[in-house]
């Protein structure tokens, strides 16, 4: 069995990873040709390479990407195109894409699908790994469902519907994807009053009430994450203010916000959300050690016991509390990150893409759990790019467009199409017959 990526490459298999593998300071051309430079006596032949790169870009109709620009100046979508070009130059016959759209905007996704279509027409086979079933339906001819490391079912896409696929992924029948938990809505606990952070394009107004799940939609880069980060004190406040339980503040650090009962879940589990080399116990309790302190020292046994209880509560599958977090699956890691917010007894939850990259069953557990929290009178801000889940669990949905909240209304007044329209086109197109084809 080939265990070396080079061997797979030579046999015509290329892979595009979830985390893009490009050297940010090298140019498009250098990245595409990396490891297969055209050379004459050890000197690189720039002209020849440029021709190859331009041919490849033309082949997938993306000549607008300048071949000499450093990668860091490209958008995520364009970077992906560069990765695909690299595979083309390698003369790949099979291309594996791992969650290629997880960080793409809708436009880029559409463009990617066009590229995939062209590759297909040129006889390249594509294995497309994704959690987004609607996309899979659009792009795939055949499908295979994997569960617990095994292939469960293979079939023709046109003969399958999304519900069947979900059932196969979950492995049990009749899972309610968005379990409804009744919750009553109370007083305002958090209000953004023209709040503008250093990385936000404009001030934001929003109010969040007890027992409410506030969905936040918008394209990537529209200012959703930046707003959450400013609220939580990770970015400094430039203008406006924040009212937490009737107390107005204009300054804050995560430490202060945690003291005010807030908890935040980062969209980037690996880089920010968790300290991967530390244990489940450390990660779970890091934001709140007080219950285990005695004479200034931690009672590790007591903590271990408490952590076990939380592990059961949030359903974390790990051998024991001292197991390092990197050894857990994505879904379980996410539950550790969420468990931390429960453990610190947060009142106001700021959740940034809490279900990104995790399995369907864990997703459904997280939805249910959010509903229960709201039922207990907690307030939740739920940022997501996945519209069905926003529509499924939220009470209100606010939509960002170019750094601003352009619309916020009860979930009953939204549908996926309108959200997408507002997110891509802004408020002006809202209401009156906006939804025509050229809009």
């Amino acid at each position: 069995m080939a265990s070396d990526p080079m061997i797979s490459r030579r046999s015509g298999i290329s892979m595009i990873y979830q985390e893009l593998n490009l050297a940010p300071d090298l140019s498009v051309q250098e990245n595409i040709m990396l490891g297969r430079e055209v050379q004459k006596m050890g000197f690189v032949q720039n002209k020849a390479m440029q021709r190859i790169v331009e041919n490849a870009l033309r082949l997938i109709h993306h000549v607008e990407i300048p071949s000499l620009l450093p990668i860091r100046k490209l958008s995520v979508g364009a970077k992906q195109i560069v990765e695909i070009c690299r595979a083309l130059v390698e003369k790949a016959r099979i291309l594996i894409m791992d969650e290629p759209t997880s960080s793409l905007t809708r436009e880029d996704t559409i463009r990617l699908f066009q590229v995939i279509e062209r590759l297909k027409n040129q006889g390249v086979g594509i294995i497309y790994i994704s959690h987004f079933l609607e996309e899979v339906q659009k792009v795939a001819d055949r499908y295979t469902v994997l569960r617990d490391g095994r292939s469960v079912h293979t079939g023709l896409m046109e003969e399958a519907n999304v519900n069947d696929l979900i059932q196969m992924m979950v492995g049990q029948k009749f899972v309610e994807m968005f379990p409804k938990v009744d919750h009553a809505i109370g007083d305002v606990v958090l209000q953004l009053d023209g709040l503008k952070g250093k990385r936000m394009a404009a001030g934001a107004d929003l109010s969040l009430r007890r027992g409410e799940i506030m969905g936040v939609a918008g394209l990537i880069g529209a200012g959703r994450t930046e707003t959450l980060r400013t609220v939580f004190g990770l970015d400094s406040i430039e203008k406006g203010s924040l009212i937490v339980r009737e107390i107005r503040t204009t300054r804050g650090t995560p430490w202060i916000r945690i003291g005010q009962g807030m908890g935040m879940l980062s969209e980037d589990r690996q880089e920010e959300g968790l300290a991967l080399s530390l244990s489940v116990a450390d990660n779970l309790t890091l934001s709140y050690f007080s219950p285990y302190k005695k004479f200034g020292l931690l009672q590790l046994k007591k903590r271990k016991k408490a952590v076990r209880v939380y592990m059961q509560q949030v359903n974390i599958k790990a051998e024991n509390p001292n197991q390092p977090v990197f050894s857990l699956s994505g879904g379980n890691q996410q539950k550790v990150a969420l468990g931390r917010l429960l453990h610190q007894e947060a009142d106001i939850f700021l959740l940034d893409e809490p279900t990104r990259g995790i399995d369907v069953l864990s997703k459904s557990q997280i939805y249910e759990w959010m509903g229960r929290l709201a039922g207990e009178g907690k307030a939740i801000i739920f940022v997501s790019s996945y519209l069905p889940e926003l529509l499924g669990v939220c009470d209100q949905i606010a939509v960002f467009h170019r750094g601003m909240i352009v619309d916020c209304r009860p979930v009953s007044q939204w549908d996926a199409h309108t959200i997408m329209t507002v997110a891509t086109l802004g408020q002006n197109f809202r209401d009156d017959g906006l939804v025509n084809s050229n809009g």
């Binding site: 939580f232 990770l234 650090t253 995560p254 430490w255 916000r257 945690i258 003291g259 935040m264 980062s266 880089e271 920010e272 959300g273 968790l274 300290a275 991967l276 080399s277 530390l278 450390d282 990660n283 890091l286 934001s287 050690f289 302190k293 200034g296 020292l297 931690l298 590790l300 051998e319 197991q323 390092p324 990197f326 050894s327 931390r340």
Partner: protein
Amino acid sequence: MNPKKRVQMLLNWLGPFLGLILVLAIFSSIPEVQDRFLRISNLKSVATQSVIVALGALGMTLVIISGGIDLSAASNIALASVITAFAINAGIPPVLALVCGIATGGVVGWVNGTLITSLRLVPFIVTLGMLGIARGVAKWIAGNQKIDAPLTWINELMARNPRASWMLISPGVWMMIVLAVVMAILLRYSVLGRHVFAIGSNEASARLCGVRIKRTKIFIYTLAGFFCGLGGVMEFSRLTVGDPTVAVGLELDIIAAVVIGGGSLSGGAGSILGSMIGVFIMAFLRNGCTMMGWPNYIQEIIIGTIIIVAVALDQIRHRQEQGAI
């Protein structure tokens, strides 16, 4: 837990000791040195010689676990020794001179921490600069020569055989042991200790969890500075003079000890016990090599090899752990 895992856990726990046991075993099996090597007086002298590196390593362990480095440790030790001598010469009571020495170290550490956090520079650069600055200031204060000072009780702290015979070993060694225990407890059982690991493992995540990065880091570097200050006082105690050119390159010994003991330069891993064992592995190697009459360069080659081998073994062990789960 299956027996295989149990064995592995035992090995992991013994891991750091194995190196030390190996070094001791090798030298005590060589006929030419075995009787001298294991003699109590020799053990005492190795322990006394290790005090300064050990004190430096106590602070350095925290710094390295937090993902930083302190290259100014040795210069800081020299500066503190000069200040202590200077203070005693100025007629200040020895207790206060000792405090002055320790405080000097603390100030240098505090400046390190403050520059690192407020200018957002990497610790390597700041402490590299401080390595020069502290050494320079030490030479300046000492007028580019040794400072002689009258003998006081401070000079007895590092005596191989303490005057009070009930102490058995020198007060410096006792101090080292007590401080090592205190630091080990601090690192494992205090909130600060957990925060040090969190910062070293993932600073962004620590911030998200409300760890106050800035003040924690300043505290870590200041504490490391205090240990260097104390090390400087011990250096003065040993030499009976304040010498600004002492301990050149000692920071690398200190870092090596921490790394041999399982400290990771990328942060998030390390232990006080490990670092102390690292200190003694190096001390016994030097001692044994000297007894064998091997030249200095042989010692250097051996210690260099040990560093690489120790870290490589540590990595392999970690990889196995990851694979095992």
